[in-house]
Amino acid sequence: MEMLFSKSRSLTHFLQYYTKKYAVQQRCFESIKAGELQLDNYNEDDQQTLNFPGGRIPITTRMKFISESFEKRLPCYRVLDDDGDLIPGSIFEQVKKGLAVNMYSTMVALQIMDTIFYEAQRQGRLSFYLTSTGEEAINIASAAALTSDDIVLPQYREPGVLLWRGFTLEEFADQLFGNKNDYGKGRQMPIHYGSNKLNYFTVSSPLATQLPQAAGVAYSLKMDKKEACVVVYFGDGSTSEGDFHAGLNFAAVMESPVIFLCRNNGWAISTPVTEQFRSDGIAIKGQAYGIRSIRVDGNDALAVYSAIRAARQMAIKEQRPILVEAMTYRVSHHSTSDDSTKYRCVKEIEQWRTEKNPITRFRKWIQRNDWWGDQNETELRGNIRKQVVEAIQTAEKVEKPPLRDLFGDVYDKIPSNLQEQERFIRDSTKRYPKEYPFNVPV
């Protein structure tokens, strides 16, 4: 194993180099901020400059439009090849056996949890579900690269981050069934998890709203001088929302320590990325906001882990936002309300489910390291399957939150109009008991 690692240059090395190189640029930014506009940078080229409010800009006599795209598409950072072999010369963060096995097991747990919960929805036991199938590596590897102090603002396809942080299968099931143990008190649809204890903001359906919020949360960490950052997740589709622009620009201007992690899975419900944007994806947008960015293979757990580790270090040390575009594929239907074979080809889905499966790829790597075997696999799958089924059976039987919870938390205290409405509803439940759900304690 050691052999393999020594072949690759260390990540710390890489970061040092990058930071040094960047320091030069930073001085230049600072001088602009301070208003001491210097010509130093341009003297070498003997170029004339013009002084604008944002700083000095060189003059050119060539009428040249910037191209709408780079000559080559932005490459995707990768460590493991399709077969789970380390690509020689790749720069990455070391992952020891314990961590690797833990990452693998949690990816499998996420996969099994998704399969069984999805099935429960098909059986009519849950009203709705949505899986992270195909995106397990982004979920788990990014979570593994963070510390528990880092604050997560999810979109909705990131339950693996919660799983990694210790949210139990019972806790997932409680939310899905909206029973009285659900932290959201049965108010939101299934999959809208949240955990204050685990620094995971509650999922909200309106897309991209979490992006500018993340910049604000991160600014608070900055002001409190915390050794922590914010990680905000979002899909490719969500980057079209105005809030994407607002979030990135705010984070850049306010120098918020936040990692913007885009899961570019190729689809927003039925809309392919080709109808979503004409840029080369998301990562290149960072530069226009003054945000350092990287594109990474989202189905390569080692690459995601390494990129987020590096991003985290830069975000916290340098107090700045970082944009990460993780390339992947939404293998599942958008949700249980969707049939994706209506708009995309089954072959494409199958290919991503099998050949490009992020879990299989990582498994090959840990197996090659002799950290994992078939025996472990069978045991793990059996165990988790049993736990998920039990979690469903238990959560299903737990009663719903009490009627009181309909009126609480609208404000910190229940105002008089809601007190009056609560009395009215209680009265109605006495008169028409059959009209109301029997499992909600009144």
Partner: protein, 358 residues
């Protein structure tokens, strides 16, 4: 168009109530071969087909519209009319509406879909500050009257906060746009065509509960139903009930129950919320002396408040009881507690009885 209106005037004149599987239907002769029994999303689909077919300067677009939309309302349109007139947009409501305003300002008909009414708020500025004031602020040099924004609204039983809301009252506070809500397939088709062809921007909310559930005989032809005209669905003498959209079928049930106890209810479908048909409601309340309004949106600041205030102004001396409102609660729209939140038949029935015996 005039002849269309006349023909439909006849079609839509309701005498007997013919409740199909769900939703409050209009009466159409079932033996008529020029009609077909269709559900609400198909009626919307027909209207969009006709709109695109009858005006080459019309466009239909929104998130996931290309493959037929998440509620299947735009099925087949891209195939038939091409991707330049029927298309997916980037996922951006402010973009969808802003783009639609621009298109409409150039003398086109832009039918923009917002996937759920709950997600219309990123476009609020474009609707409220732009679409609504486009004509007024330019002294009628410019207008975006060809704009129609379609959005599914309302409770479905499992939608929680963000797939259930009824945001109509926010838009009713905005001079310059019209707000239209149909109650049934036949109404949906005729009102949508009127909205698309109306020379003013219209926000058209579709009761998504009824997309599949409500089935009704719908004329195959191109027809329009008048905006800003309420309709008396059921005549009565003791109390007037006013509502719109999916809530009407709940109210209708309450009317039927009340009739069993000897109370005669008059039920009115407002159809267009602004500018609304005060005269029809006023005439009815002057006759019955009592008014009840019901909507799913929270009671406080809901459009029921506006109706109530206007009718009190106009009918004060004729009212025999306070105006009753049976509406959603002043909470966010809840998941598990949805049956408690909703203005159910029994809640309406109780309010009818207490208003009548006031």
């Amino acid at each position: 168009m005039g002849s269309n209106f006349r023909r439909i005037g006849k079609l839509a004149a309701i005498s007997s109530k013919n409740q199909s599987c769900m939703g409050f239907s209009s009466t159409v002769n079932k033996n008529d071969t020029s009609t077909k029994s269709v559900n609400l999303f198909s009626a919307i689909n027909q209207a969009l087909h006709i709109a695109l077919d009858s005006d080459p300067r019309s466009y239909v677009f929104g998130e996931d519209v290309g493959f037929g939309g998440v509620f299947r309302c735009t099925t087949g349109l891209a195939d038939r009319f091409g991707k330049q007139r029927v298309f997916n947009t980037p996922l951006c409501e402010q973009g969808i509406v802003g783009f639609a305003i621009g298109l409409a300002a150039m003398d086109n008909r832009a039918v923009a879909e917002i996937q759920f009414a709950d997600y219309i708020f990123p476009a609020f500025d474009q609707i409220v500050n732009e679409a609504a004031k486009f004509r007024y602020r330019s002294g009628n040099q410019f207008n975006c009257g060809g704009l129609t924004i379609r959005a599914p609204y309302g409770a479905v039983g499992h939608g929680g906060h963000y797939h259930s809301q009824s945001p109509e009252s926010f838009f009713c506070h905005v001079p310059g746009i019209k707000v239209v809500i149909p109650r049934s397939p036949q109404q949906a088709k005729g009102l949508l065509l009127s909205s698309i062809r109306d020379p003013n921007p219209v926000v058209f909310f579709e009761p998504k509960l009824l997309y599949r559930m409500a089935v009704e005989e719908v004329p195959k032809d191109d027809y329009m139903l008048p905006l800003s005209e309420a309709e008396v669905l059921r005549e009565g003498t003791d109390i007037t009930l006013v509502g719109w959209g999916a809530q009407l079928s709940i109210m209708e049930q309450a009317c039927v129950e009340a009739a069993k106890e000897g109370i005669s209810c008059e039920l009115i479908d407002l159809k267009t919320l602004i500018p609304w048909d005060k005269e029809t409601v006023e005439a009815s309340v002057k006759k019955t002396g009592r008014l009840l309004i019901s909507h799913e949106a929270p009671v406080t600041g809901g459009f029921g408040a506006e109706i109530s205030a206007s009718i009190v102004e106009r009918c004060f001396t004729r009212l025999e009881a306070p105006v009753a409102r049976v509406c959603g609660l002043d909470t966010p729209f809840p998941l598990v507690f949805e049956p408690f939140y909703l203005p159910t038949t029994n809640k309406i029935l109780d309010a009818i009885k207490s208003t009548v015996s006031y």
